[in-house]
């Protein structure tokens, strides 16, 4: 059964639904013809369903209209201009886009192996009495509001990074361009780690759900041939659910790209592009959070909204891919059951 959980009720929205037996014919909505109230109720619900559909179009359209000033002023060059100078009114999106993509990519690098590990633990390893509390606790990570991650990251986690982790990295790996600059604790790496913790519950719970779709018969056949648990996971479970796993990763990526408050606190907010993971950086969402209410001119506001539009387009594409992949594995499984 699906458990819509937590601040992560949204996790549920992306999970594969339980396998249902073939549904019997539902009663058709049309009762006596001409029943005015029936038509009225149906139309009302239809309108509100349509409203959901319109909402996404409205968001895209409005952002596009408001961003128009920035794009007509800077042209498409806006996308790859490095400079962001409110005083001279010269705006370019590149540092924010770079920071958004890099921080999310690093977060995915950390979160995916951990999430897979937790999902394997929950489905193949943990005794039943442990599955529920551990699963619930991991999903609680998704319920903790993102501003809490940000504040905690700034005051509790960043000092530890600054005092212990980053000096160690500099000492041992300081010859790499990745670890240059003073160890301040705030910067790309801290942001990526916190982002990773935030998306672990999303990737975990969807991976766990698609793991559960693997027919017991397939797994037991492999066990019967003498396979170890890991061999079953690697040769049966993962190949069977590959589409779903990629979907789960894309969903996590979509979340990471749009995450605002957690990142804003710890990324350092500098419009720079640096190879070093220790240096402060910026993302689209943190730029918006920091500067939107301070933006004084029309061009400034429009440039910020243009950033918002870019973020909206990127996440919509990523989330659509995630959704399509998850739908495909659902259909694949339902097909193989019948």
């Amino acid at each position: 059964m699906r458990h819509p959980v937590g601040g992560a009720a949204e996790i549920a929205a992306h999970r594969a639904p339980p396998q249902r037996p073939a549904e019997p014919e539902r009663p058709q909505g049309r009762s006596r013809p001409g029943n005015l109230l029936d038509v009225l109720f149906r139309t009302t619900t239809l309108c509100f369903a349509g409203l959901v559909l319109l909402l996404i179009l409205a968001i895209g359209t409005v952002l596009f209209a408001e961003a128009h000033l920035a794009f007509s002023h800077f042209g498409l060059k806006f996308l790859w201009t490095k400079e962001w100078d409110p005083v001279r009114e010269s705006f370019g999106a590149l540092p924010s886009i770079f920071g958004t993509l890099v921080s999310s990519f690093l977060a995915i690098l950390i979160a995916v192996p951990v999430s897979m590990g937790i999902a394997i633990f929950l489905t193949e390893m943990a005794p039943p009495w442990l599955q529920k509390p551990v699963g619930l606790a991991v999903e609680m990570l998704a319920a903790v509001p993102s501003i809490i991650y940000g504040m905690w990251g700034l005051f509790s986690f960043a000092p530890i990074m600054a005092r212990h982790v980053e000096p160690w990295l500099k000492h041992h790996l300081g010859f790499l361009p990745l670890f240059q600059g003073p160890p301040m604790g705030i910067g790309m790496m801290t942001a990526a780690i916190i982002l990773a913790v935030m998306i672990i519950p999303f990737i975990t719970s969807i991976t766990r759900d698609v793991f559960a779709l693997v027919p017991a018969m397939a797994k037991e056949s492999a066990y019967g041939l003498g396979a170890t648990t890991w061999e079953v996971v690697r040769n049966v479970v993962i190949p069977y659910t590959r589409t779903g796993i990629v979907g789960a990763i894309f969903l996590g990526l979509g979340r990471a790209l749009g995450e605002t408050m957690a990142v804003t606190f710890v990324i350092g907010n500098a419009h720079d592009i640096s190879l070093s993971l220790l240096s402060p950086s910026n993302t689209i969402s943190s730029t918006l959070a920091n500067e939107f209410t301070e933006a004084t001119s029309h061009l400034y506001v429009s440039s910020l909204i243009a950033l918002g539009l870019i973020l909206f387009l990127i996440t919509t594409v990523i989330l659509s891919v995630a959704k399509l992949l998850l739908w495909r594995i659902e259909r694949q499984v339902v097909g193989s059951v019948r």
Binding site: G7, A9, S31, T45, F121, S146, I148, W230, L288
Partner: protein, 289 residues
């Protein structure tokens, strides 16, 4: 041959043990963060709790004392307004998906879009509401904040409602229809009643989700250090207060930010756990028929 097989067997066992240990470690890794965050929240947030914290208005910057009562009330008011706007829309849209649209192309499109919207960056929703409400009305307002939160709630409530209604056995609908009840009455009086508990908890989950949101409020409801009950004026909320206070140089404000953070987290986690337990009970009832 047998020795070789034994070696390989041992190697396979070893690989298995390592991989299983790693997956156990990742589970611990996940739990570790949760408990670390909760520990710090309680440790640093609890000292901020006092009678004044819950009853007094904030003091001017740098002055000790005062409380965050306006933010507590503001968060409750804005979340309540968001619920009033978002929940009816979500329930009706979900009703369409479960009762009328079902497998139609339109229903699939609505499901697809609402799942995308559920994960859409909340700050973008804030920008959208800024453009359609704050700019034309020439002012930040609690109503704008509530609308932003409502937009985040709608897809969540839509999908939960659909899920719940799909648990209602068809025999129940057919029985009511056979008695001559029109379909709208069947939905309102039979289906809704059957899943009332589940829908309530679904709504609770949606509330828990938006109650912790900060990003969409930053440039919609803004902030306000005073009492405000006018939805057309800027309204202070706990979340935005945390953002402002945590970034400030004053120790007293930072302590208050920890207190506010603990309060919000306790509220959200408690609602989530209660709702989750209730949901699994409803689903059991639903599947038992």
């Amino acid at each position: 041959m047998s020795r070789h097989g034994g070696l390989r067997h041992r190697l396979r066992k070893a690989v298995n043990a390592v991989m299983m240990a790693l997956s156990g470690v990742s589970a611990l890794f996940g739990l570790f963060w949760l408990f670390w965050i909760l520990k710090d929240l309680i440790h640093k947030g609890l000292p901020a709790f006092s009678v004044a914290f819950f009853t007094k208005l904030p003091t001017p910057p740098g002055m000790a004392g005062g409380g965050l009562v306006n933010g507590i009330v503001g968060t409750l008011l804005i979340t309540a307004m968001a619920t009033l706007i978002g929940v009816p829309v979500g329930i009706l849209a979900g009703t369409y998906l479960a009762e009328y649209g079902r497998q139609s192309a339109l229903a699939h499109a609505v499901r697809f879009v609402s799942d995308i919207l559920t994960s859409a960056p909340s700050i973008v929703i804030g920008v959208f509401v800024y453009a359609i409400l704050v700019q034309p009305m020439k002012g930040f307002s609690g109503l704008a904040g509530a609308l932003a939160l409502a937009i985040i709630m709608i897809p969540v409530v839509t999908r939960t409602t659909e899920e719940m209604l799909r648990l209602v056995p068809n025999a129940l609908r057919e029985a009511a229809l056979a008695l001559g009840a029109p379909y709208w009455k069947v939905i309102l009086r039979v289906c809704y009643r059957r899943v009332l508990g589940g829908m309530t908890t679904g709504v609770l989950l949606a509330i828990a989700r938006v109650a912790g949101e900060t990003a969409p409020l930053l440039f919609t409801s803004l902030n306000n250090p005073y009492w405000n009950f006018n939805p057309l004026e800027p309204t202070g909320t706990l979340n935005v207060t945390i953002f402002n206070y945590a970034m400030s140089p004053y120790d007293d404000w930072r302590t208050k930010a920890w207190g506010a953070a603990l309060l919000i987290t306790l509220g959200v986690l408690a609602t989530t756990i209660v709702a989750r337990i209730a949901v699994s009970r409803t689903q059991r009832l639903g599947s038992q028929r």
